[in-house]
């Protein structure tokens, strides 16, 4: 990456470098059967015209099939959140693309948003609406109306045991209750793909345990779940496959056994450290 400004923007050089590397990557064929597939996802942030840009995520490719729980692990700043934000269309990839539930994140972001349930610490609910109003609002935007909407709202309230506070405003609920409402919001339209960005962060032990149970239940119901965490025990318990991200690059993808085999380590924390050290050279 060039540091000098030589007539073209410094970012051009960054893009060239990233692009040439992306072109060397072998084509991924036959991925249409997957619920989620990321193809060379790259995100570059730039502050100002002369900024050469910060490559937050570079050439990340992976695929997840139906009913699979895919874990993205990595240290802070590795690019987990940026990758998930690209998959959920909050951010547009600078290079590369992804298909989520059959829709392209670049070409049909609205369809992607209608097919996913995204949950993270940054996706809190509107505090001045009650739980029921929130669910109705999301339901209407997903195209439900009348008795169908009412039925779905009631079902979610029952399933998550929220009767006692369904008509209370979210600003008056505890963190755990609000998190339940948030889960309800992600499930209301029964999306085939769930994207969870550090879903247990900020929760107490009981809340975190409930979240883990929720992910396990989603897998049983055939949902594709992609979730990022830096709590290795959660990943060890839940994930069918794991991707290790470091400095914006995906260094390894595989099941726990495959990663054990590759590193020669037994436990996930040892596997993770070994792969991170390997990535850092």
């Amino acid at each position: 990456m060039t540091q000098d400004y030589d007539g073209s923007t410094a970012l051009d050089a960054t893009l060239d470098a990233v692009s040439s590397e992306a072109k060397r990557r072998p084509a991924i064929d036959g991925l249409d059967s997957f619920s989620v597939m990321a193809i060379g996802l790259t995100k570059i942030f730039q502050r100002g015209e002369r900024d050469e840009g910060l490559v937050a995520v570079q050439d990340v490719s992976f695929a997840c099939s139906k009913g699979e729980v895919f874990g993205l692990l990595g240290p802070n700043g590795a690019g987990k959140t940026t990758t998930l934000r690209m998959l959920s269309t909050v951010l547009r990839p600078t290079i590369g693309t992804a298909r989520v539930a059959g829709s392209d994140v670049r070409r049909a972001p609205q369809h992607v948003r209608a097919s996913i349930g995204f949950l993270s610490g940054n996706t809190r609910l509107y505090p001045r609406l009650s739980v029921r109003e929130t669910l109705e609002f999301f339901g209407r935007l997903h195209g439900f109306d009348g008795s169908e909407l009412e039925g779905r709202v009631q079902h979610v309230i029952q399933a998550l045991d929220m009767h006692d506070y369904a008509d209370r405003r979210l600003e008056k609920l505890s963190t755990g209750m609000a998190q339940k409402a948030n889960i309800g919001r992600t499930l209301l339209h029964d999306p085939p793909v769930l994207i969870l960005d550090e879903p247990t962060s900020g929760l107490d032990v009981l809340g975190a345990a409930a979240m883990i149970d929720f992910v396990a239940e989603m897998r049983e119901r055939g949902k594709t779940v992609i979730f990022s965490t830096h709590i290795l025990s959660e990943a060890e318990r839940l994930c069918d496959r794991i991707g290790i991200l470091n400095n914006g690059r995906l260094h390894a993808v595989g099941s726990l056994d495959e990663l054990r085999h590759r590193t020669g380590e037994d436990y996930l924390d040892q596997i993770f450290m070994s792969l991170v050290r390997e990535a850092q050279g």
Partner: protein
């Protein structure tokens, strides 16, 4: 644009934003409760102030200009405290307008009638009339009785005639036309401020912005929804102000003028014109405050950003107080200022169709520009997540 307004998802989103806004205490206080209580409170304060100033009124020494009438002058000097008197030079109206006298007493040409002129728009002149009007009448009756005794026959003489010599007789309307535009514009800025901050920095501070950007809506719809919601909130607040003001205006003006003063009847065109400007002002203020608020990360930061802008927006409203300010071919092009002047012209019934049309066109253009800029900014990921990204490079790359 019309098809976008029919979009059911956008309607659902706008309804949700408005519902959230109407549950915000700041917005309810500043946008709805303040207008309802402000004017009665103002009425009460002025009434109290009047009582407080009664003592000051009694200590005041009015000046009376007279033409001839030495007997009356002597009589007035016998009063405690006596008024200042001076000979009248020029016309009565001129003396009152210059402020040389608070009351002018002359004998009507070719008769014995006394004409007492005062200026109802001047406080000291009204006080002088209240204090000396009855004295002059009593003196006149006494003079008639003395004449009767002296001549032993009834001498027909005309009474004292009181004349309001203020240049503009409909001063209530003038006062209303001066105050109303200023108050309405200032209140419209308040009505837009809180909702705009709430839907930008407030949402970001509560970590709801990303949730909004994950809704199955286009970014443009989200931005449009926010702008419409803030405009609607600002316009609602303006309407509540108008209603409260119309209810309280009669008694309020009576208090200000120190006498019974009914609300002047307005032309039927006044309200539609005021509402039309109100909608456009709501769009301008709503869009500008949303734009400014979108650069702030926290509610406090947004308040700090918006306050100077708010003051700048109020400046044109304050300039409408200048006596020389009026809606003409030039001022009609200055946004906000033209709305204030048009309000005033509408209230005074001096509607110049060309200037009004020009001002509406200018304000509409400004509103459209602000609306588009704001919608573009709010559609940007940088607003949603609070940081700049490389989005604008996408087109070049692909």
């Amino acid at each position: 644009m019309p098809s976008q307004f029919l979009n059911p998802s956008l309607r659902v989103y706008c309804a949700k934003e408005l519902r959230s806004l109407l549950r915000d205490r700041n917005i309810v206080v500043y946008g709805l409760l303040l207008p309802l209580f402000l004017y009665p409170l103002l009425l009460f304060s002025i009434s109290e102030l009047r009582q407080l100033t009664t003592g000051m009124r009694e200590r005041m020494e009015p000046t009376i200009a007279m033409q001839g009438l030495p007997e009356l002058e002597t009589h007035l000097h016998e009063l405690v405290p006596p008024p200042r008197t001076l000979p009248l030079t020029g016309g009565a109206g001129e003396a009152l307008e210059r402020g040389a006298a608070d009351l002018v007493i002359v004998r009507a040409a070719g008769s014995e009638r006394l004409v007492v002129s005062h200026d109802s728009t001047s406080g000291p002149s009204r006080i002088a009339l209240e204090r000396f009007g009855p004295v002059i009448e009593a003196w006149r009756r006494q003079a008639e009785r003395e004449e009767l005794v002296r001549q032993r026959k009834w001498v027909e003489r005309s009474d004292v005639v009181f004349v309001d010599a203020s240049v503009e007789t409909n001063s209530t309307r003038e006062l209303l036309a001066t105050l109303l535009p200023l108050i309405l514009i200032i209140m419209c800025t308040f009505g837009a401020t809180w909702p705009a901050i709430e839907l930008t920095a407030g949402e970001r501070e509560r970590s709801c912005a990303e949730t909004t950007f994950l809704l199955p809506l286009s970014r443009h719809d989200v931005a449009l929804g926010k702008t419409i919601a803030v405009t609607a909130a600002a316009f609602t607040s303006l309407c509540v102000h108008l209603f409260a003001m119309l209810v309280a205006a009669g008694p309020l003006l009576a208090q200000i003028r120190g006498g019974a003063s009914a609300l002047p009847s307005l032309a039927w065109t006044t309200l539609p014109i005021v509402l039309c400007y109100g909608v456009l002002l709501s769009i301008v203020f709503g869009a500008i405050f949303l734009l400014v608020g979108s650069y702030a990360k926290t509610f406090r930061e947004a308040q700090a950003f918006v306050t100077p802008v708010q003051l700048v927006m109020m400046l044109p409203a304050m300039l409408t107080l200048l006596p020389s300010a009026e809606l003409d071919a030039t001022t009609a092009w200055i946004p906000v200022y033209n709305a204030g002047l048009a309000f005033r012209a509408a209230l005074l019934g001096n509607i110049d169709l060309t200037a009004t049309a020009t001002s509406l066109a200018s304000l509409s253009l400004c509103a459209l520009l602000c609306f588009r800029t704001t919608v573009r900014r709010l559609s940007d990921t940088a607003f949603a997540l609070g940081f700049a990204d490389g989005d604008r490079l996408r087109e070049r790359w692909s």
